[in-house]
């Protein structure tokens, strides 16, 4: 069964249908990609799934349950995490704090606990901190926990953003152009890292990317969006040969 599914999802801005009757289904444990020209509606699709935009039509199903209309915080609590096309960390918080914020839905201590410093709260903070440290190590930022997020180099910010998303212990993670602004070498490192996510943590991955080396390199299945509509789907090989995709997206040079 697919872990995440959209059914006839539609989002309009004024007259423009940014996402138009889109159906995708991602099986558990898979790495799937979404590609498409600029302005095709890829990011908008993510925004609809994560609750930023309420869709006009259609629904989002997560592990069989309907998510449509829930607010982003509820959706995140269910186990969907994401990153952003242009990195959106909490720039004046430390790396560690960023991750701890990511763990927010997994922590239980409330306002009263905080004021009274209950033992329960202290114990929870301790384990949360340990987990955050582990994540930091996992993304290769060991020892940089006390640096402000804004002071990290670009690549590390990307990884910190992933660590923050992972702290939510998600079942699925949506990555929006994780290798944007990286050179081929750096992209390759990122690719390895994403594969690791699935291998080691068993997380399902849905990915938006313009870098064809990355997309073709790691995805098992690709959806192609254009003008809000799915124009093709299939394995990387199929997509690369699809004339419509070549025409509107890849360009002849890429073939």
């Amino acid at each position: 069964m697919s872990i995440l599914e959209t059914r006839d999802l539609t989002k309009r801005f004024g007259g423009l249908s940014a996402v138009n009757r889109v159906n995708v289904a991602i099986p558990e444990g898979a790495i799937y990609s979404i590609i498409g020209p600029n302005g095709a509606g890829k990011t908008t699709l993510f925004n609809c799934i994560t609750g930023f935009y309420p869709p006009e039509e259609g629904e989002v199903l997560f592990m069989g349950k309907n998510l449509t209309g829930l607010s982003p915080d509820r959706i995140t609590q269910r186990g969907i995490s994401r990153t952003y096309q242009n990195i959106r960390l909490f720039p004046a918080m430390t790396a560690l704090e960023n991750i701890l914020v990511g763990a927010h839905p997994r922590l239980r201590s409330n306002f009263a606990d905080a004021i009274l410093r209950t033992p329960r709260q202290r114990a929870e903070e301790k384990t949360a901190l340990e987990k955050a440290m582990k994540l930091l190590e996992f993304v290769g930022l060991k020892g940089k926990g006390d640096l402000l997020a804004r002071n990290l180099p670009y690549g590390e910010q990307r990884r910190l953003e992933m660590a923050r998303a992972l702290a939510n212990e998600p079942k699925i993670i949506l990555l929006d152009e994780p290798t944007a602004g990286m050179n081929p070498n750096e992209s390759r490192t990122m690719m390895r890292f994403i594969e690791n996510l699935r291998e080691e943590l068993g997380i399902t991955i849905l990915l938006i990317e313009h870098d064809m080396k990355v997309v073709m390199g790691i995805s098992e299945f690709i959806y192609v969006l254009d003008f809000g509509q799915l124009i093709a789907q299939g394995s990387p090989e199929e997509i690369q040969r699809n004339p419509q995709v070549i025409e509107s997206y890849l360009g002849r040079g890429a073939a």
Binding site: F13, I35, G36, P37, N38, G39, A40, Q85, N86, P153, Y154, G155, E177, A180, G181, M182, N183, P184, N185, E186, S187, R188, H210, M212, K213, S248, Y249, L250, G251, G253, A254
Partner: protein, 237 residues
């Protein structure tokens, strides 16, 4: 005499030493590219040349004139424009108004319509959308707009910061085609790119930056053959 000459500049952000002695030259009608990893200082170099920040030491010359301390807005009148990283379009103005802003430095409004025609020819897509609010354009269209807007200032030297970032492959191609075209029509270009492969294929010469220093300088052809470049920036192993 080189059109642009940068001599041993050191630029800081507060205490951060971002450029540690960069020197480079750009000859008239060339395309020169700067390549380097994240945070190497490429953007900072362009910002220093364009006068948005000033180096703590070192000098910049444009056509023999010292412009080290000249503020950005005056450099535009001298013929240097920049297409900033992340495009920097005026999101709340329309496409037309953006282009109009591009021509702000042109004292002679009579050329405006000609210039407009010229960039619309280069980017027919923009003509279709001339009264659309720029913030709602797609990424590719925004990049076109940023480039077109820079052209409206009739630059002699155009600094471009990662024009292909975040663009679909098909657009990357067309952006570089445009760059070549602009260059052919007489504009010198200093290009910063992550996509080193394509950048080196259109450029005449290139510089490789690492953590604020230039580690390599050569013709584009030679750089493409360079083993270290291949490994680090072209993804060839």
């Amino acid at each position: 005499m080189a059109m642009l000459e940068v001599k041993d500049i050191h630029t800081y952000y507060g205490n951060i030493h971002a450029l540690k002695g960069i020197s480079l030259t750009v000859e008239e009608n060339e395309i020169v590219t700067l390549i380097g990893g994240n945070g190497a200082g490429k953007t900072t170099t362009l910002r220093t040349i364009s006068g948005l920040i000033h180096p703590r030491s070192g000098e910049v010359f444009f056509e023999g004139e010292k412009i080290t301390e000249t503020p950005a807005h005056e450099l535009v009148y001298k013929g240097i424009t920049m297409v900033p990283e992340g495009r920097g379009i005026f999101a709340r103005l329309t496409v037309f108004e953006n282009l109009d802003m591009g021509a702000y430095s042109q004292p002679d409004r009579s050329n405006f319509n000609d210039d407009l025609e010229r960039v619309f020819q280069l980017f027919p897509r923009l003509k279709e959308r001339r009264s659309q609010v720029a913030g709602t354009l797609s990424g590719g269209e925004q990049q076109m707009l940023a480039t077109a807007r820079a052209l409206m200032a009739r630059p002699r030297l155009m600094l471009m910061d990662e024009p292909s970032m975040g663009l679909a492959p098909i657009l990357v191609e067309s952006v570089f085609e445009t760059i070549v075209e602009i260059n052919k029509s007489g504009t010198t270009i200093l290009l910063v790119e992550q996509n080193a492969m394509v950048a080196l294929s259109v450029a005449d010469r290139g510089y490789v930056l690492q953590t604020g220093e230039i580690v390599l300088r050569d013709t584009a052809e030679n750089l493409r053959q360079n083993e270290m470049v291949q490994k680090a920036y072209l993804g060839i192993e």
